[in-house]
Symmetry: C2
Subunit: 365 residues, 2 copies
């Protein structure tokens, strides 16, 4: 394997602690796995703001654009609640997504067998759950203009956000969903609110057309996003791949993640389009969970989602499928041996620290 | 009690069947409860479209504007999937909400003790659940302009929706939430996406200010809407009153309703501002569930949400608190006696039809 550049952006809260564990895993693959990763570190979010008043520096943005993959921790925390909107911690993440054109966000919601009891849902409802949410990540209400607060006088202000989707954006994200469905359960459920939103009408139309044009072998189903939220709670196993827009994807993937009882375990991948010449995609990998400032520094953070995010990098950026499977297996083994961080322990069960969990996974490798 | 005008709009699917049961309840209150309701019927949704090509006629709109309360069934179904956007079934409901200025949508998510087992969630997570979602209903992305699909040429279209909130809209809906919290658990959780949306920034700011100005005795908490969806699944009992915008309210209230396992049981109220002279509010009452076209005509529909919606009318439009309590008690009694429609029966449990359930509730009165 030619040398690959990883930019590590640990971010805030528990970000640096869990990134520490990924470094151990990367070191193992370099030493014993025949790989050759070169890593560089950068700042993002509140920690970048503290260092230089921006949620990500131009220098780190340039590194991200040049990296073979970005490994991202988490951003945000009460410390930065009152910083100006433009430089709030989340702005760094949103800029990475937008400038790197990471339009396809893959969020698996998997229920790890060892953890089926940790869910608030009944065991039979979530045991064996394996769904993939494909969220559009560079469009919609996150980025549409106008996006502003206008002073109307008389003590009145107006807050405006704009949801915008163009045909090509819907086409490319549904193409990703159909392609992925073929490697899994061969079914796609598209979710929008076409009964209320014009962007939903267009979404529905374009997904239907994309299906007709090249994916008729895949089963396609349409569902209103509110009904989709309900169905996720009622019987999530009815889904295979869900494709939806940026904002619905944000909500629905969080609900789906929480269903599994395995929130601290779930990775995500954000991918750009393949480059026309090299075929390589820009990519960023991050855990689904947030920066959990309340437990930062206590050694209670679960590093598995972060490590599994690196696993997704092996799979999607480096096509090291065997290595990715090996890493997933190492995680499952550590769980099977009863190792639990606090978030996934049942009452009375012994727990290990962030770094003990990281070490155990490396040992399993 | 002076005579009160009710406009009944059964709508589509199971709407007419469940409205039939409400009529029995209204008749009982007229005959034996010392009340004096006059009812009129109208068409809305697909049935209105079939009759006169509109999702609600001008005549029925005028009746709704003049009524003391509108009792609404449900709209929509596959039959009307391809009618023009402007006259789709939902347009009738949206016009009622907008023209009657029903800005405050109250959606209780209650777990009926007799039904705690029907939920996909663990019993201890939802037993005794009693939360109230206060959803803004006349603003946001539902009604903001521009809302359109533009043809960009070259096979490209652009779908646009606009999320707009003004200070006064956020002020009045949060006032409703704080007022209601005082009659309950005295806690309000406000949900938005201020980390991504400018309307969310304004929402957060105005709710905080409204709290400061007159509701400091009520506990106020802010939560990002995606985290809110997660927390609803994880531990819903942490909430008392949730206040949120139109679209987040749509999603979150559906998730909350499904948590309870009692979807066929949950009513809602949509209220306007009190009239400056008479103090009366325009109001519409409807079940949280939809038109369920798949079971229409089979006698399987559960009429309880519809009947409980009339109960909310007694409470909020007619201040007949005792009668409202009596009706709620009659519903609980029928359930305690083991009466179940199909949707709420456990495996192997005997079921009753829509009209048998209605009759049983009247008998309990
Ligand atoms: C941190 C925030 C901007 C982000 C989002 O809203 O997309 C997060 O919730 C996510 O889902 O990745
Ligand atoms: C029918 C539809 C327009 C409506 C909405 O989106 O508001 C429904 O889902 C609801 O929640 O009342």
């Amino acid at each position: 394997m030619a040398s690959q550049n990883l930019l590590l952006l640990p971010g805030d809260g528990i970000g640096p602690e869990i990134m520490q564990e990924v470094k151990k895993v990367i070191a193992w693959f370099n030493d014993k796995g025949g790989m050759s990763f070169e890593t560089d570190d950068g700042l993002v979010g509140g920690s970048a703001y503290d260092a230089h008043g921006q949620s990500i520096s131009e220098e780190d943005m340039a590194k991200a654009m040049a990296a073979d993959a970005v490994i991202f921790g988490a951003v945000g925390g009460p410390k930065w609640d009152d910083v100006p909107y433009e430089v709030r911690p989340e702005a760094g993440l949103l800029r990475l997504r937008k400038d790197m054109q990471l339009f396809a966000n893959l969020r698996p919601a998997i229920c790890y067998p060892a953890l089926a009891d940790a869910s608030s849902l009944k065991k039979d409802v979530i045991e064996g759950l394996d769904i993939l949410i494909v969220r559009e990540l560079t469009g919609g209400v996150y980025f549409g203009e106008p996006k502003e607060i206008i002073d109307l006088g008389n003590g009145q202000k107006r807050g405006i956000d704009t949801q915008v989707y163009d045909t090509y954006e819907i086409e490319r994200i549904s193409g990703v969903a159909f392609d992925l469905a073929r490697t899994r359960g061969n079914k796609v459920t598209s979710m929008e609110k076409r009964n209320v939103m014009k962007s939903g009408v267009l979404w529905n139309e374009v997904v239907t057309q994309t299906h007709k044009n090249g994916y008729q072998d895949v089963q396609l189903e349409h569902m209103l996003a509110d009904a989709g939220g309900m169905q996720l709670v009622r019987w999530p196993k009815q889904f295979d791949v869900i494709v939806t827009d940026n904002l619905f994807g944000d909500m629905l993937s969080d609900v789906a993640a929480m269903l599994t009882g395995s929130l601290g375990m779930l990775p995500s991948a954000s991918l750009g389009a393949p480059d026309g010449v090299t075929g390589k995609r820009k990519a960023l990998y991050e855990p689904v969970h947030g920066s959990a400032p309340d437990i930062a520094g206590t050694g209670a953070a679960n590093p598995i989602a972060m490590i599994a995010s690196f696993g997704m990098a092996l799979r999607y950026s480096f096509e090291e499928i065997e290595a990715a499977n090996k890493l997933d297996k190492a995680i499952a083994n550590a769980l099977d041996k009863g190792l639990r961080t606090k978030d996934i322990a049942s009452e009375g069960q012994a727990t290990v620290s962030t770094s003990e969990m990281g070490d155990a996974i490396v040992a399993e490798l």
